[in-house]
Symmetry: D3
Subunit: 134 residues, 6 copies
Amino acid sequence: MRLPRMLTPRVTVRAHCDLPCGVYDPAQARIEAESVKAICEKYQASEDPEYRTRALIIKEERSELVKHHLWVLWTDYFKPPHFEKYPHLHQLFNEATKLAGASGAKGSTDVDVAEQLLGKIDEISKIFWETKQG
Amino acid sequence: MRLPRMLTPRVTVRAHCDLPCGVYDPAQARIEAESVKAICEKYQASEDPEYRTRALIIKEERSELVKHHLWVLWTDYFKPPHFEKYPHLHQLFNEATKLAGASGAKGSTDVDVAEQLLGKIDEISKIFWETKQG
Amino acid sequence: MRLPRMLTPRVTVRAHCDLPCGVYDPAQARIEAESVKAICEKYQASEDPEYRTRALIIKEERSELVKHHLWVLWTDYFKPPHFEKYPHLHQLFNEATKLAGASGAKGSTDVDVAEQLLGKIDEISKIFWETKQG
Amino acid sequence: MRLPRMLTPRVTVRAHCDLPCGVYDPAQARIEAESVKAICEKYQASEDPEYRTRALIIKEERSELVKHHLWVLWTDYFKPPHFEKYPHLHQLFNEATKLAGASGAKGSTDVDVAEQLLGKIDEISKIFWETKQG
Amino acid sequence: MRLPRMLTPRVTVRAHCDLPCGVYDPAQARIEAESVKAICEKYQASEDPEYRTRALIIKEERSELVKHHLWVLWTDYFKPPHFEKYPHLHQLFNEATKLAGASGAKGSTDVDVAEQLLGKIDEISKIFWETKQG
Amino acid sequence: MRLPRMLTPRVTVRAHCDLPCGVYDPAQARIEAESVKAICEKYQASEDPEYRTRALIIKEERSELVKHHLWVLWTDYFKPPHFEKYPHLHQLFNEATKLAGASGAKGSTDVDVAEQLLGKIDEISKIFWETKQG
């Protein structure tokens, strides 16, 4: 099940934002990270070298998209008062983006690594939605 | 409010998919289309020519992303049985992507046009989640 | 041999189009699909693992370009009267883009698959040029 | 009219090439340059500031694609014997890509400039097809 | 004048790095930021609306590249011991990337804003080269 | 060691340029080529097939960036008087970009090939900085 669109906090989203766009959603990073996890699962389940090479190519792209969406949240959405209220937020984003990079999901086909990345994104997502309530 | 992640139908999502990635979500198109709508609102509310030019530049990109995410759903997610069950689905996607293009959101700063685009994406999203239940 | 440029129907092309650009040509998709086919042939003829990996990387990009060029034709060039006159056109584009994707040229190094993709693009091309005559 | 696909010199094309792809065609640059010309014509014919801004955004992208396709031909297709046989070929490509840049089609909305660019691409195209005959 | 290549600390650079690439240089961000500054200067010096629109289009791209290159340094080059030694480094990167975004160089044509951005990049660059000496 | 920023010839750079941006630096191509070389070294030192595949993916991208940065210098920075003064400059750029392509760094994991590419970029860089002195 999924909340109908009219109940999602879209008005609130835009109310906090002064950019030309002003619409942020950690779902963008999460969807790409779920792709990364699914790719790892399928990579592990396959022995076809062509398929595995394609999986690595696509995982590289999806992981890069995870990093990009997280960077955008960190730079464009979160403001100084947020970083004051959540003093570990910088480190959380740094760890999350590292987990999407060479020392994480890019450099590994381990499903656990992708799970850790999803866990970090959940932590960020929780803070994100708290700041929307404020 | 937003459903906590553990309640979202992620397992189901992947269970229907045989691609390297296998994770689809119409939210990707919707988020970009909400950006397009917010940009139109801010464009209309501003008289600063630099700001308005930037709004047009960014709206062009966001509209292109709407098209891309919809095209991916149409080609990669939906299969022949879906098109049999929903005979207007081809036309719906064609209209939605046209509404994201030059004859729609790219070529207009009218908030109503962006609303129409969001409406089409909602129709697609409804069908998408129905096929997930099946 | 190739028709000299002065004989190609460029004026007609633009006359049917009301977009900022207005120049469409299925040759864009065809050229990328010919690349895909050539890559498959060279992949099959080589046993060098580095070369084969590079072939897969480049085939992934070229196939994506095929999809993109076909999507642009389907959404931006073809109009409702075309879809009325050619009722199978939606399905033809859907099959062609699927043939450029994971279930086709992206997911295979079989030259036959690339040939099928070229065949679909020829069908689209034939309809495209018929609509230019109209 | 357009030559049916079976008559185009595709076999010859690939026979001259030892790259993973091996399919080159100056049509790629020409199609984008025709877009640039069409954009200039429509820009001159319009007084709508939003439309004109969009035209400039899209012209910038299309001109960049012209440059890219020409650069690929110059570096990847043409070989030392070609440059020996056509001693002005370096300069021709340099002038053509400059004409697609800031001192040409990017920096101008003059239809004549786009025509000059198309003229240079025709010169390149003529040499390209001569080298295919050889 | 510029130091000859043989004197630049390339060996040291790679020695600190365990990624597939391992070559980082804040010059990448600085060069794009100098472009942004030059664009602002030329924008201010021109009254041609076409030129000014093009300047805004290109400034948007160059600013995005500044952000990207800084994000890469923050996530991929700097490691936990660096953040311990330079406790303001997170905030410095966050401010620098914000200065390249909508509230900075993207949203402004003020040469001073571009100068501030270059100043932040210089601060980052100084720390970067200090960590190379360590 | 690295020259402090205030000593680098930035003013001179911009003084020679009439484009919207006007900032060029062969360091952009050199940094990417150093990445290519580092990737080759690490590729040769590893026997992990996943790591080697990732190295090939990233080398493909970095080599493409080398080509792009060189093409920009050749088309956008260098002007007819430069080509008169340095008659081999066209050929030098053509060889350098070929060395970044399929017959060079893209098609090889040989560190020597990457070194040759860096050597060509050094030759270009030397000429570039001479023209800045002029």
